[in-house]
């Protein structure tokens, strides 16, 4: 009961928070909520299966772009729906063709995917529509964006929890441990991976769609900013990618740390980011949460 009530209470608290903070505070909340959502959605697929995806921004950017294309033609909910569908379709196509690639090839592919999508959209816009750069004039306030992102983040974590307790979650954990065993135990590898990949991609796409009104102007080189992919991975890994609350736990402090760094060390920000990334890989490869669990267990045993 507590396990359910506590998050719900926290959610209510987070929902009323905008009334108490400044515009900048709200901006911080939006950023934190966005990265919690991204990292949790990323972990939904990559955290369990260990298929490290560097393609977060391919979906995130697609969401933003879908809104830019459709925002004048359709009502807002329909735009979101279309964005989600576009993300799902893309994830299906990509998943069907690449999820049988193993380890390093999948990482490389996902590394190139954002670039590929960007090239395709650019080529399409230049050759078919003859314009590049679109505008989003939607009457969505910063608070509206925050509430939507908060809802999406909460839904992502709830969905992860639900999946984790079900067959799909078990299948994904087994796949992450040993695909061979998984297949010979009767797990349909392709279907399980695809389901998780598509779900994760839809959330990533929706996150991009929800934040896009803050950009106003959208161009492939703006929305497919690879830093988003990198930050998502490092946040999820830091917290513990195969734990329910791990990504959220990694996202919030890192996001705040980056904000602080960019204000105080604008010139050396990439150096610090790089060092942080290397530090995470070396010092807490499994993430903070599993490391803490281990420590606690050891203490209990001692």
């Amino acid at each position: 009961m507590i396990r359910l009530l506590l998050p719900l209470a926290a959610l209510v608290l987070l929902a009323v928070l905008p009334a108490l903070v400044s515009e900048y505070g709200l901006g911080l909340l939006i950023g934190a909520a966005t990265y919690v959502t991204l990292a949790s959605a990323w972990a939904l697929f990559s955290g369990q299966t260990h298929y490290v995806s560097l393609a977060t921004v391919a979906f995130y950017g697609t969401g933003a772009y879908a809104v830019a294309v459709l925002n004048e033609a359709l009502p807002y909910p329909a735009v979101l729906l279309c964005a989600a569908l576009a993300g799902a379709a893309m994830a299906l196509a990509v998943g069907l063709s690449t999820l049988r690639l193993s380890g390093v090839y999948f990482v490389i592919f996902s590394f190139g995917l954002a670039e590929l999508v960007r090239q395709l959209i650019t080529w399409y816009e230049v050759n078919v529509t003859g314009t590049l750069g679109r505008y989003i004039f939607l009457d969505v306030t910063a608070r509206g964006i925050y509430w939507q992102m908060l809802a999406l983040g909460a839904a992502t974590i709830a969905l992860s929890a639900w999946i984790g307790r079900g067959r799909l979650g078990m299948a994904l954990r087994v796949i992450g441990d040993d695909e061979e065993v998984a297949a010979h135990s009767g797990i349909n590898l392709a279907r399980s991976k695809l389901a998780a990949f598509v779900l994760s991609a839809v959330i990533l796409t929706l996150a991009g769609a929800i934040t896009s009104p803050r950009y106003v102007y959208v161009e492939p080189s703006i929305v497919f900013n690879p830093t988003v992919s990198f930050l998502t991975v490092i946040m999820a890994l830091l917290g513990g990618a195969n734990r329910l609350w791990g990504p959220a736990l990694g996202a919030v402090p890192l996001f705040l740390a980056f904000e602080w760094l960019s204000a105080h060390f604008p010139d050396t920000y990439p150096v610090l980011l790089g060092l942080l990334f290397i530090g995470v890989v070396f010092l807490v490869p499994q993430g903070i949460l599993p490391a803490a669990e281990k420590l606690l267990r050891r203490r209990a045993e001692a």
Binding site: H50, V52, L54, S97, T98, L101, G103, V104, Y105, V107, I108, F109, F111, G112, E115, L116, Q119, L120, W123, V126, N127, P226, F230, V233, I234, L237, D267, T268, Y269, P270, V271, L272, L273, G274, L275, L276, F277, I278, G279, V280, V281, F282, P285
Partner: protein, 289 residues
């Protein structure tokens, strides 16, 4: 028209192949997919330019020194950063993911260092800019030099791998890292050499790029992507494959640009990359077993 396409394509392909050699070596022998590869090349390019502009040492003269420095830097990098990861993974598949994530961090680190050291401006020098006519097709001398370096470095590397004892031990580690110690090969040493040699090749490529291309501190990822495409096409870890794939890519891009539409060159590159990844992950040119 065909001669022009052919010559321009081959020259372009030479610079691509040179760029990819080091990456394929690093992955093939040391099992490390180095995403910061482009930044290493870029650092060498900046150093070559600084030597040229500051001390008047032309890139061709400083190239051996830059390559040697690249070897040293690669050696250090392997020892300090990669070795602990290798030890931790115990030969399992975890090294691939770990090294990708670690070199990912390295990418940012190096980019940041380049930004603070050299600024965000475009950098470009004029060196051996003269056109030289080849079968009536004017080609920049510096491109020809890069082409020559590629043929030399690639040829030497292929020969060394095939005909020397040292090359044999490198190939042994590449093929069967688990079995190599049984025949008295120090895997750690060979992997370190492979990684360092890859870094030296990256530096060589970077120094030759500085002769003919405008670059800036944020452009390393572009080099990495290009090299990755070639490495995948040639078969990961396959040196002759990377050479062939580099030339093939140069020819294809030039052909697409002249015969179809320059707007599709990058799309063609990525389509190829995708196609190869999906249908022949072992690369176009022979399988590594």
């Amino acid at each position: 028209m065909l001669t022009t396409t052919l010559i321009l394509g081959l020259v372009l392909g030479g610079s691509y192949a040179l760029l990819a050699l080091g990456l394929t070596l690093q992955y093939g022998i040391a099992r490390i997919m180095n995403l910061a590869y482009g930044e290493v090349a870029l650092a060498a390019a900046f150093i070559a330019v600084a030597l040229f502009q500051g001390l008047g040492i032309p890139p061709l003269v400083s190239l051996p020194g830059v390559a040697a420095a690249g070897y040293g830097a690669g050696w250090l990098l392997y020892q300090l950063m990669m070795r602990p990861l290798v030890a931790r993974s115990g030969g399992g598949g975890r090294l691939e993911t770990d090294s990708i994530l670690a070199t990912f961090g390295l990418l940012f680190l190096l980019q940041g260092v380049l930004l603070t050291a050299f600024g965000a401006d475009f950098t470009s020098i004029s060196y051996l800019d003269r056109g030289i006519s080849i079968l009536g097709v004017p080609v920049a001398a510096n491109r020809l030099v890069a082409f020559g370096i590629c043929v030399l470095a690639g040829g030497a590397l292929v020969a060394a791998l095939r005909f020397t004892r040292w090359g044999l031990s490198l190939r042994a580690v590449a093929l069967a890292p688990g079995a190599a110690p049984l025949v008295g090969i120090d895997v750690n040493r060979v992997a370190r050499q492979g990684f360092a040699l890859g870094a030296a090749l990256a530096a060589t490529a970077g120094a030759s790029i500085s002769m003919y291309q405008t670059f800036s501190a944020t452009g390393g990822v572009v080099f990495t992507m290009k090299a990755l495409v070639i490495v995948i096409m040639g078969g990961v870890g396959n040196v002759p494959g990377a050479l062939a794939a580099g030339f093939a890519l140069g020819l294809i891009e030039t052909f697409v640009a002249t015969a179809i539409d320059p707007g599709l060159t990058l799309a063609a590159t990525f389509a190829l990359f995708l196609g190869v990844l999906l249908w022949r992950p072992q690369g176009l040119f022979g399988a590594r077993t």
